[in-house]
Point group: C2
Chain length 349, copies 2
Amino acid sequence: MPETARRTDRFSGTRYGNRPTMKDVAARAGVGLKTVSRVVNGEPGVTPETERRVQEAIDALGFRRNDSARVLRKGRTASIGLVLEDLADPFYGPLSRAVEEVARAHGALLINGSSAEDPDREQELALALCARRVDGLVIIPAGDDHRYLEPEVKAGVATVFVDRPAGRIDADVVLSDNFGGARSGVAHLIAHGHRRIGFIGDMPRIHTAAERLRGYRAAMEDAGIPVEDSWMSLGVTDPERVRRAAEDMLTGPAPVTAIFAGNNRVTVTVVRVLAEQSRRVAFVGFDDIELADLLQPGVTVVAQDAAALGRTAAERLFRQLDGELIAPERIELPTRLITRGSGELPPAD
Amino acid sequence: MPETARRTDRFSGTRYGNRPTMKDVAARAGVGLKTVSRVVNGEPGVTPETERRVQEAIDALGFRRNDSARVLRKGRTASIGLVLEDLADPFYGPLSRAVEEVARAHGALLINGSSAEDPDREQELALALCARRVDGLVIIPAGDDHRYLEPEVKAGVATVFVDRPAGRIDADVVLSDNFGGARSGVAHLIAHGHRRIGFIGDMPRIHTAAERLRGYRAAMEDAGIPVEDSWMSLGVTDPERVRRAAEDMLTGPAPVTAIFAGNNRVTVTVVRVLAEQSRRVAFVGFDDIELADLLQPGVTVVAQDAAALGRTAAERLFRQLDGELIAPERIELPTRLITRGSGELPPAD
DNA sequence: CGCGCACATGACAACGTTGTCCAGGCTCTA
DNA sequence: TAGAGCCTGGACAACGTTGTCATGTGCGCG
């Protein structure tokens, strides 16, 4: 296909298909190319009369500056990338929104994508964003080896990891206190008399899941309670299997009297299972969920502040971009135990 | 500042600051620029031996193709823009995710931003995305005049509106059946014996809100019930004022025996208020909410399929981009009444 | 043995913008 | 009134990539 046919588009008749350029605007306004550039960018050195003529041509032609060319020339894109696990997860909504707000305050756009917890997809996405020359990256890691980002970081791409630490690379990280949060949640159950406490969480290869498991173990150990394997379910998140795991813990010779859930998705399923039980089983979940206060009993949770995670990470990112030469740091945000009833039930055995 | 100093960055020591280009790779591999381009793009006509040498240079230098330059040359960005109202709203999470999935299937990235229900911000965002030369736009309109997009559409930017119709421009629109859904929800309450039914919704300038209000009125009229002004609250969404509106309807000489909520945010607040009442008040809400089945009573809702909205819109967008010459169309997706208890309560007066 | 042909490779222009630099016209002052 | 200085505006190169086209090499076949 000849080069000149490239721009033909699917439209017929009056549709243009070719966008006007500064050159076109300049021709129409009867001025030089650079003068148009000056007007578009609000640079000084143009008489009001010239500016008016240029502006008129811009409006008439429907000119819009081509930022690709601008980026190519200037080196900065004024956009940042966000790689997260799942846009549809209610936990990440406020986080992305917070990142977006900070980006907006700095005049940057947000490009984002979901890794679906797949390390390859995370890498593919992150590198695609780098190819677009985003100024910075906020990453919620799916994988545990981020050496593939080394050339990017060296080339000046600001990078901050959120929610989970980076693997094999020295970078800023913003985390919740998963260990401490889980520990205090489980300790809360213990303080209310429980000893046989179940734990249902995600795969321990996910850092947050591992930390929360560690918190569970620590609380149990603090209280001198040996943990039985049958009390723990690791690596299940789909509703069906979580349901079965919960039911298993609640039956048998020495059933648990309380359950600690490792994340919001597990929580909603376990809460459903517990609602079906005749026996009252205590419950504490990691991550807050909507309407938790309206259930009977209210759902006690260890809440993390997703928006604060996103905001902190993004601010850190722009501090890197603003040239504040800061050594990579690990920032840990506190969690908050919210008691609503389910975690204060006494053991029923 | 001299042009050559432009690339100095905040890093010291071994940091590079300059990204290698194809030229650098070519020099290192001892081949021509175009050969590198061929290897990077997997074009034929390169001997395995040459390809190996080039690949080696690429890895050694940490080269990553600059997509800005590529876009400038090729005209297509392989990215689409999504302008929505609030990323943090649980309704839009699945919608964005669906758009993203379709984009991914077509090899495109997603750039998105929240308009925060502000028409100016919507326009600013949409135009910024156009300046980046996104191939297409999915817009959840905040404003009601989209003529500002005319030059873009003419220039070939595929455009689809979702959730609410476009204003003053002829374009594809994907909507839920807001009118029919609300009408059936209210009819459901009427069928259970209610006559004094309250409606709490968003500002009628928002299309979805207006349609749902219209559905409410239609259902009431179908049943021959004159609507009292005091039964309707329009334009309030913040929890405090929704709470007051609901409480007002429930007091006075002829209190409502049922409430219909116009969206998910109103629903969560009204459900809270109703939980505090001694009297049982029937309730139906527009939009499904998580854990609605676990509340006492379960929350009856008119559910729309957010993911389907996003998927349909995105698919439509790519059909435009794939050159299927299709006249703008209005697609309406059905809603579904999910009965869980709250909508089946009899009037208590 | 020579001709043409296929194939690998590279030189070069172009994409649309911005930074640099220079020209021309103006004002102000000596 | 001439020279200095300022202000406006334009010519031109460069950003990194890809499409086009030309070149060179080696091979098969008549």
